[in-house]
Symmetry: C2
Subunit: 140 residues, 2 copies
């Protein structure tokens, strides 16, 4: 049976998940990449190397995060959260977010771990998506 999740249920899934698909607009078209993140204070926090997605989000900060639990064709839930990209440039904030990411994802690659220990390096982008609206649907 098709169901619409309540905002509370959707937000709980968003808070609990560790991986989501980040959607943004690149060259006028949709673009999706998987990201690791943690959720705190209405924001999904993550990091990235500079690249297409970051250039695009700097130009157009509108973003969405999609996550799902798929237990079968007729048993799944999908949450879609809409928000805006905010880049974190203050060194103390960068350091705190990178530490949180590392503690939650201890298996980050050596490259990422090295980057996280050197929060001063601007080669890693630290960002958050400030979530404004969350919807969810599913079948059960």
């Amino acid at each position: 049976m098709f169901v619409r999740l309540t905002e509370d249920e959707s937000r709980r899934m968003l808070s609990a998940a560790r991986v989501a698909r980040l959607g943004c607009i690149v060259d006028g078209g949709p673009y999706i990449v998987p990201i690791n993140y943690y959720f705190e204070g209405d924001c999904a926090h993550s990091h990235s190397l500079a690249g297409l997605k970051i250039s695009a989000l700097r130009e157009n900060p509108r973003a969405c995060l999609q996550l799902d639990e798929i237990g079968g064709v007729a048993h799944w839930r999908s949450v879609l959260a809409f928000g805006n990209y905010e880049e974190i440039t203050m060194p103390s904030q960068r350091k705190s977010i990178l530490s949180n990411l590392l503690s939650r994802f201890p298996l980050l690659t050596p490259v990422e771990s090295a980057i996280a220990e050197d929060a001063g390096s601007l080669s890693v982008i630290v960002f958050r998506i400030r979530i404004e609206r969350v919807t969810g649907v599913g079948e059960e």
Copy 2:
């Protein structure tokens, strides 16, 4: 180690997968929903009830499909395919695509199965995303 998949590897993943995240543009912002699909002749074929995503794709046909295999933080692959939405309106084509979907997804819900048996009903939208470009990245 970060790797870029070849176009062949990426296309093989796209052909083999059954679930992808469809990205489109809704009200000027990114929008993502999971879809079941099958791939044939450069197109991902799927179906949907009318709604936000279909209205949006009729207005702006640019779409992408993202799929991934996540085996761990340092062991994953993600493929991103870019293309355009094409709605299928010819009854014989609708019927053939719906039959193919049903045979590949025998566990579609009763509602979807009923719809598929009545390909003449316009309440179900049959569409394909014609893929123009495929990229893939990963870590292994």
